[in-house]
Symmetry: C2
Subunit: 355 residues, 2 copies
């Protein structure tokens, strides 16, 4: 506390990301990173950027990257906004498109950064409870609002919402923006990007941190009607002219262009996920249906917090959320390699036998 | 304009950075980049980051970089804040420390991003006119305020303010934060960093884009009392957990540690500046005294806008500001290599003879 602080600072409750341990011998299944590194073509492109040209500013508009993203999805460049990770993109989305008289709506169990952004920008919001199966029911969102946002698949449940439901929501909610946060969409969830040209109230956000294996590079983007993108550009150009550095742009362009590598990697993660869900079932774990690179799972008798602590003793880190109480029994486990799944199952067998 | 926009978006007048032309045969003296590339040690460190580890998030707190910066200045890590370029650092400074009931004060001729940040965050401000010699007179800032910010050396004038004056200002203004934006300080201006342990109301911002030759990497930082830094951390952690990517952290650490290269490069720029000022004088240009890697100069008879346009025809880009009217006769010229100075003088001779 300090007299020098702006009022807003006193009230902030910052987001706490999953631990980034500095030890290297851990099986790290806590922050939904990809177990496979980026495409070799990305590495090649990045090496070229370590050069004298770093003395020069990057392109403030990241036009090459916008063009690569637009081409990938069959959109116009004016329908693409890029930022320093999808967290920065989301921050601008909250400030530019979701602050209105009526409250923003999002699920009670969802990405826990959403209420933090609301605190930062003074945005009114209401949370809508997931149903008993931890699913989003779009009928619950048929109420006055200044915007709607949720991840699809949702986090930390991993449960996908069908595209037909999203289209219904877009039709019932024409007076405010619907943001579909598709950070994990490439692991088996249907994307809403194909609806963009039909619905001017739809904005979709993506990240290169998960399916494109580039969490260390910090690139995310938003896709939508050009009027929505213009609002984001105005805020970005009032905040930071050059958010995407030369490495981030070059690496992201190469990643967007290497579809083969991307598809192979996603397929491997999906196969490992299915095997892990089956193995966990034999140990009395019930997992939610996942369209993501993680699963949300609970043991029938042992609490999530105990399991997370015991796994840590075996040098395995998973994520446990204390709140709300409905999710406390669960663990969120990132899908790693098959070898990491084997290590996890081995440790769980030891823990459950000695418990 | 769109019904989907938040109110603030309608009123924004974004900052317009200097042009980043996509042609490569230009003498680019418009955005104050360093004519010399980064240290070879920086290039080496960056090459190592093009690796499989990019699949993992960077350290959200950038501790290695904070440690390198702290060591460089003899400060504690808790006195260091880092961001995605000093523009992002400044954005957080405006939101976290400069929004109060009383107006923020800054010079009428100064970094033109300041009023843009005020627009983005709804901050009241008053501009204080520079004196007749285009200098900051700290007596003009002895009035009720919620904060004071100016660059030292000032931009676009390049004129340094003596450290004794800054210390007087810190003593006369104990109830709000004084931010000294030292983007260009390493080119011959005395830094206020040495005052940080004495004045809890002082915050100093730096960038690696200029003297450290890393405009393409996007790293800036703020130094000050730990209470001020905590406010910035709270806002950062409510905005983006991971603003500094793996390349940015590794390159910035190497740059902060290579003092020899940094000092040699700055000395070369200062020497070229002095020679250029002398050459321009023979062509009837009057230049303001500069403590920066640029000069603000005007011809005795030919207007700045005409000269900027004509130089462009010779493939030389410099910066011209139309507003306020006091600066319209001037050109802001970045200090390049000696060869670029020769090209500039040659072009000006042709332009002035044929005018």
């Amino acid at each position: 506390m300090s007299k020098f602080w702006s009022d807003v600072v006193h009230q902030l409750t910052p987001y706490v990301p999953g631990e980034q341990p500095k030890l290297s011998n851990l099986v790290k299944l806590n922050t939904n990173e990809n177990p496979y590194g980026p495409s070799p073509k990305v590495i090649e492109a990045l090496k070229l950027e370590a050069a004298d040209s770093l003395r020069l500013y990057p392109d403030p508009n990241s036009d090459k990257l916008k063009a690569a993203i637009a081409e990938n999805f069959g959109l116009q460049m004016s329908q693409v906004f890029v930022g320093n990770g999808s967290d920065e993109v989301l921050a601008h989305v909250f400030q530019a498109l979701l602050k209105h008289e009526k409250p923003l709506l999002f699920p009670d169990i969802s990405y826990s950064f959403y209420p933090v952004y609301c605190g930062l920008y003074g945005i009114k919001y209401e949370t809508i409870a997931l149903d008993k199966q931890f699913k989003i029911d779009i009928h619950d969102y048929a109420r006055p609002n200044g915007g709607i946002i949720f991840p699809n698949p949702n986090a930390p449940t991993g449960i996908p919402l069908a595209l037909a439901e999203i289209e219904k929501l877009l039709r019932q909610n024409t007076h405010s923006v619907v943001v579909i946060d598709e950070a994990y969409v490439d692991f088996g969830t249907e994307s809403a990007v194909k609806l963009i040209n039909m619905y001017p109230n739809l904005l979709v956000t993506h990240t290169l941190s998960k399916a494109r294996s580039l969490a260390g590079l910090r690139v995310g983007y938003a896709l939508g009607n050009k009027d929505l993108i213009e609002a984001l550009m105005r805020v970005k150009d009032s905040f930071n002219s050059y958010p995407i550095d030369r490495f981030a742009e070059a690496g992201a362009v190469a990643a967007m262009q290497d579809s083969d590598y991307f598809e192979q990697t996603c397929a491997k993660v999906i196969a490992t996920r299915q095997a892990l869900v089956n193995d966990l079932k034999t140990l009395n774990f019930d997992s939610m249906p996942s369209g993501a690179n993680f699963i949300f799972t609970k043991h029938r008798t042992v609490d999530g917090s105990i399991l997370a602590e015991k796994l840590r003793e075996h040098n395995i880190i998973v994520r446990h959320f204390k709140k709300p109480s409905r999710v406390a029994p669960y663990l969120r486990i990132t899908i790693g390699t098959d070898a990491q799944s084997i290590a996890l199952i081995h440790a769980l067998k030891l823990i459950l036998n000695t418990h």
